[in-house]
């Protein structure tokens, strides 16, 4: 029996919905569910997007918080499932509402979703001073991105931002979540590249922006997509509400030099901005990478010919694979995009086929012994424990618990250099 071949269990829409709301700087999820669903999400939300300076569990020892500052819960038990959670909901809503949040989302756990308690009625009767809405069901085993987008759209419906007059060259960034590895550093990098091209980021849906920023999203000229899997339902909604067109790069997320340049050029072209400042930054990064690579390559012959495996969403896997292949001369031996299937996945399959690497598609990485593995820490650890001396570069969650003090980026010029640094030091 080879238990190491059992599939990795990825988060579903329930986690996606919670992370969407917890990604709004001043919003809070109130979980109508058991503590078993609370502790994990409370820990991940706090780890990915900390909001309090210190963590003294006694400050959060009150009912519903269980020592964690995030994701208070009604701690449903068997009795509540039978008789309903009326009393707890009546008690918890004012407690959470007085914590100073600008938005509260009551999210049903999968079990609570089956009972059908009328959450909207409780919210209405509570007469809270804070905008509050309910997500009765985040689906069952739907994708993370589906739950994420459902929650974003529900939040926007409640906040009801109005169409505003466009102010200069501006965009909303769509398709980023706090569940993305190094999301803060990546966001900083993208905002920087856009800023030097004269493009203002009005809001980020939903990774780091506050309620006030989200209310102003109607003033952005376009919605600029980062990871399309996390945006393909939100952007039609925004177009319908605000008439905003979306900008989606056919090369995927801005990973590596070429995809980043294509992403920047596309947005600059659409908003009539000059891409050259960002291109200069990219040129400098390319130059820096060449200097490092030439020395490294002359001594080792690497990274050319080193093999790699990627386990990521298609919008990430496509540009990463292309960059590793074309810029560094590395060879894909295992490319997996999970159960997400979109245009990027099709392009990626064709790319692999065109480059003679067709067999890499959905190949089990453990069977092909890659030199470098890109994925979650679980993906990497499993390969290592199969006895493979793989160089692991974690590009998705869960991580290994390493706390990043200096923000890293996986996207843009800085992202390409970060990946390069990891590769050459590993090889």
């Amino acid at each position: 029996m080879n238990l190491k071949k059992l599939p990795e269990i990825t988060p579903d829409g329930f986690t996606g919905a919670i992370m969407a709301i917890e990604g709004i700087k001043d919003a809070a999820v109130l979980l109508n569910g058991p503590t078993g669903c609370k502790f994990y999400h409370g820990a991940v939300a706090d780890g990915q997007f900390p909001r309090v300076d210190s963590l003294d569990p006694l400050y959060y020892s009150e009912e519903f918080y269980f020592g964690q500052p995030r994701v208070p819960a009604t701690y449903l038990d068997d009795h509540d499932y039978v008789f309903g959670a009326t009393n707890k909901l009546e008690k918890i809503l004012p407690v959470v509402a007085q914590k100073g949040h600008s938005l509260v989302a009551v999210v049903n756990s999968p079990g609570a979703a089956l009972i059908g308690d009328d959450l909207e009625r409780f919210i209405e009767q509570a007469g809270l001073p804070v905008p509050c809405f309910a997500i009765e069901s985040t689906g069952f085993s739907d994708s993370f991105a589906t739950g994420f987008q459902i929650a974003v759209i529900r939040a926007l419906k409640l906040l009801a931002p109005q169409p505003l007059e466009f102010k200069g060259k501006s965009v909303n960034l769509v398709g980023m979540s706090i569940y993305h590895r190094h999301w803060q550093g990546s966001l900083d990098e993208l905002c920087y590249l856009l800023k030097i091209c004269g493009i203002r980021v009005v809001s980020v849906l939903c990774a780091g922006s506050g309620v006030e920023e989200l209310k102003k999203l109607g003033s952005a000229e376009y919605n600029l997509v980062v990871h399309d899997e996390f945006a393909d339902h939100i952007t039609p909604f925004l177009k319908e509400r605000f008439g905003q067109e979306s900008i989606v790069s056919e090369k995927g997320a801005p990973v590596g030099f070429d995809a980043t340049e294509a992403w920047i050029k596309k947005v600059c072209n659409r908003v009539d901005a000059d891409p050259s400042p960002a291109q200069k930054v990219l040129a400098a990064a390319r130059k820096q990478s060449c200097e490092v690579l030439s020395r490294f390559n002359s001594l080792t012959g690497l990274p050319k010919g080193a093999t790699f495996a990627v386990s990521a969403d298609p919008s990430m896997a496509l540009p990463l694979t292309k960059w590793l292949y074309s810029w560094l001369g590395m060879v894909p031996v295992s490319i997996c995009t999970g159960d997400t299937n979109n245009d990027y996945a099709d392009i990626l399959k064709k790319f692999l086929s065109d480059t003679g690497c067709k067999n890499a598609w959905n190949m089990d990485a453990a069977d092909v012994r890659p030199d470098v593995a890109f994925g979650s820490e679980i993906f990497i650890s499993r390969l290592r424990l199969c006895g493979l001396p793989v160089i692991g570069i974690d590009i998705s969650l869960p991580g290994n618990g390493y706390m990043d003090v200096i923000q890293k980026s996986l996207l843009g010029a800085r992202g390409a250099l970060y990946l390069l640094e990891k590769i050459i030091n590993g090889l």
């Binding site: 029996m1 059992l6 078993g36 068997d78 309903g84 689906g139």
Partner: protein, 742 residues
């Protein structure tokens, strides 16, 4: 004999059931009637109108430790035992879940069905969710009667009930027939007869409309009691005899809706046309193997008989405290510690993901922080059925069967099946899926563990259930003890230092020539579990509540011997522990030699720390109730203990110290008292379970772990730390800065 009487709400099934119970009692039978209807009036007439505490109200209002079956079972007419499930107010909660909870309660409180001649389940038939189908499961009703009137909606409900029966149908078939409760002479009974013919089910009895029912109700009695000489009573007596003597059983053959309407409403059966029976055959309608079971295979019935649901409750369950975590996660963190097994999770992917992350967090921490590889926590061997929207509406037996087959195909030595809240809430019957897959795969046991997410308890309850029902089910009662072998019990799978502690313990045991046979349940194997009884002595890692429950369970089930002392921390405990084990195995002299060796080393090792710590004052505020290892270290270093403050902690209330006269102690300590105590006692060092914030004066503070390192030098780690800590500035620069910016 267990009979379920189903029917549309308001059709009169409760009156009929109560009268049948009374008639059966008249015939000297010991009868139990269970009302499975939220309006809880099934047994009212048997109890002469007395409204009784329902099982669900009882479950809600009485803590588990005080619950007794006798308080939800009420004796009525001629000794008929009556119980009502009850249910929530209309519009909230889930009545179906209530039925599931009711039967789980009866099971936990030890209902012995064999003590009754007849058990009658009076069940609402309008609702078709899993909860109301409980009496149809294996182990419940052997016989099903359906009450109907001449009205179409009543017949429609009867047909729906047949669909439910069919979904659960196992050979031999269980449907006995229809009971026609007539609305009056003017009604068209032909509808019922046509339906009867079409579904190939006889109308076993017809009850005529009668004013006596109303009159008996006004007397709060059944007709059988109030009008014992009436023809109606005679009919019930006949029906009761028929129940006992004449139950030809039939397969459930429900009709498709269109056929039902055509036959019942439009009249007549076209004998030339084939009747459209409900052909919504699910794959799971494969006949379950009800025949003989192969020896050596742990069957569901074995588990039902031998390893029934846990009666060992976690502390939170006993005290009705908020549940921390869920039984599902606790159980999977335990079953995934068993190598060569796969745990199948029946639930949405989120449940598996959350549990998986809990397991992996420990594995990754051990790997990256301590360089310890725990494959069980990096490759948790689990498969998720990924329950989706379709499953929560229509049931997921087929998906579960598929997932179990997928697990079996990996050729593990055992499969554990755990369920989540959604699975429990929709009333899934996983054991039915197990029976099907087990019948195809002789040799690989599929072992269910009671979880249903947190419906069956908290994290600790899941750990207990997995140990008892999961790992415990594998223990071979015939294995013989072997010399110099011990088992380790109740290690904590989520603690960071479990492996390091185990290594220390193993080393000490090896010095005595003793080896560990099985870790129950931590990084073990099916083989080790089967041979569990080879261990002559069992060593609890902890004597906390978890440890004590494990000891009680294993002593009760297998009559095994235990060491009194748990894994030792510090010199005193290590010496005592080693001596106890040595005495059991007759190795006292070896133990003395080992202890002398460690004593020499310990004395040498404490010197530098003692120089740094002598005379320093410490104060301790902690959730830990066993602080003697800290105190031993402090006293060995010549420190002064100003005060020990024990915070209230649900898992134990057993503070004890061998140093009771040497310092001030306060149990049930309120954290609000901290600042006054610190100002009064002015300790040099404050020990807490986490680093406290906003102290009223500048002093050194440090943390003490909930699970410290074991062995002779367990306390020395902290002496080294304190000695170093006291050399550091009392307040770090960043804290001054933080105060400015906060």
């Amino acid at each position: 004999m267990r009979i379920a009487i189903y029917g549309k709400g308001g059709i009169g099934k409760s009156t009929i059931t109560a009268n049948l119970a009374a008639a059966l009692a008249d015939q000297g039978k010991h009868v139990l009637q269970i009302g499975c209807d939220p309006k809880h009036d099934s047994t009212r007439l048997l109890l002469n109108g007395k409204r009784v505490m329902t099982a669900l109200d009882y479950l809600r209002d009485v803590p588990p430790s005080r619950q007794r079956l006798s308080e939800v079972f009420h004796t009525g007419y001629k000794g008929v035992v009556c119980a009502e499930a009850g249910g929530p107010e209309p519009g909230v909660g889930c009545a179906g879940r209530g039925i599931l909870s009711t039967f789980a309660l009866f099971d936990r409180l030890g209902l012995k069905t064999e003590e009754f001649d007849v058990i009658l389940y009076d069940v609402l038939g309008d609702v078709v969710c899993g909860g109301f189908a409980i009496p149809l499961r294996k182990g419940f009703a052997d016989i099903v009667y359906i009450v109907t009137s001449e009205e179409f909606m009543s017949i429609y409900a009867a047909n729906n009930i047949l669909r439910g029966v069919k979904n659960f149908d196992e050979s031999p078939y269980r449907t006995a027939g229809l009971i026609l409760n007539s609305r009056g002479e003017t009604e068209d009974r032909e509808k019922v007869y046509r339906f009867s013919e079409a579904v190939r089910l006889p109308v076993k009895h017809t009850i005529q409309r009668s004013n006596l029912f109303r009159k008996a109700e006004e007397l709060n009695k059944t007709i059988v009691e109030a009008f014992s000489e009436s023809s109606e009573t005679e009919l019930f007596q006949t029906m009761a005899r028929g129940f006992l003597d004449n139950n030809n059983l039939f397969a459930a053959a429900p009709l498709e809706d269109e056929a039902l309407e055509a036959i019942v409403l439009k009249g007549g059966i076209d004998t030339n046309k084939k009747i459209d029976h409900d052909i919504l055959e699910s794959n799971s309608a494969e006949k379950e193997n009800s025949g003989k079971e192969e020896p050596g295979i742990l069957s569901v019935s074995d588990q039902e008989n031998g390893l029934a649901g846990s009666v060992f409750l976690s502390k939170s369950m006993l005290c009705r405290e908020p549940l921390h975590g869920c039984a599902f996660t606790g159980a999977i963190c335990t079953t995934t510690q068993i190598n060569d097994s796969i745990t199948v999770v029946h639930g949405p992917r989120s449940c598996s993901h959350i549990a998986c992350q809990t397991i992996l967090a420990g594995g990754l921490r051990a790997l990256y922080q301590k360089n310890v590889i725990i494959p069980e926590q990096l490759f948790p061997s689990m498969l998720s059925s990924d329950m989706d929207e379709r499953v929560v509406i229509y049931g997921g037996k087929d998906d579960l069967i598929k997932k179990l087959r997928q697990a079996i195909a990996k050729k593990p030595q055992a499969v554990f099946l755990l369920t989540t809240c959604p699975s429990g809430l929709i009333g899934e019957d996983p054991e039915s899926a197990i029976r099907i897959v087990s019948s195809e795969n002789l040799g690989i046991p599929i072992i269910p563990v009671t979880t249903d997410g947190n419906l069956r308890g908290d994290y600790m309850q899941g750990v207990l259930n997995a140990c008892m029902e999961g790992a415990g089910a594998l223990i071979d009662p015939c294995a013989c003890q072997e010399d110099n072998l011990v088992n380790v019990i109740a290690e904590k799978n989520i603690a960071n230092n479990t492996e390091i502690n185990f290594a220390v313990i193993s080393k000490l045991l090896n010095k005595l020539g003793i080896t560990v046979n099985c870790r129950f349940v931590r990084r073990t194997s099916i083989k080790a579990l089967r041979g569990f009884l080879k261990g002559r002595l069992n060593l609890p890692a902890f004597n906390d509540y978890f440890g004590r429950v494990m000891i009680d369970f294993l002593k009760e089930r297998f009559q095994v011997s235990f060491a009194q002392n748990s894994f030792p921390i510090g010199f005193y405990e290590s010496e005592r522990w080693l001596k106890e084990i040595a005495a059991f195995f007759g190795k006292e002299a070896e133990a003395e030699r080992i202890i002398d060796f460690f004593r020499e080393e310990y004395r040498a090792m404490i010197k530098p720390f003692r120089n740094a710590l002598e005379g320093k004052r410490i104060m301790i505020i902690t959730y830990i109730h066993d602080t003697d290892w800290i105190l031993e270290t402090a006293f060995d270093m010549g420190m002064e203990v100003a005060k020990v403050c024990i915070l209230n902690y649900s898992q134990d209330n057993l503070f004890f110290t061998r140093y009771s006269d040497k310092f001030e102690v306060e149990t049930n300590y309120l954290p609000q008292k901290r600042d006054d105590d610190l100002r009064r006692l002015k300790p040099d060092l404050l020990l807490y379970n986490y680093t406290p914030q906003n102290l009223p004066l500048d002093l050194h503070a440090d943390i003490i772990p909930l699970c410290p390192d074991v062995g002779f030098y367990g306390g020395l780690v902290f002496a080294r730390r304190w000695a170093t800590l006291l050399k550091s500035p009392v307040k770090e620069g960043w804290k001054y800065e933080f105060e400015k910016i906060a």
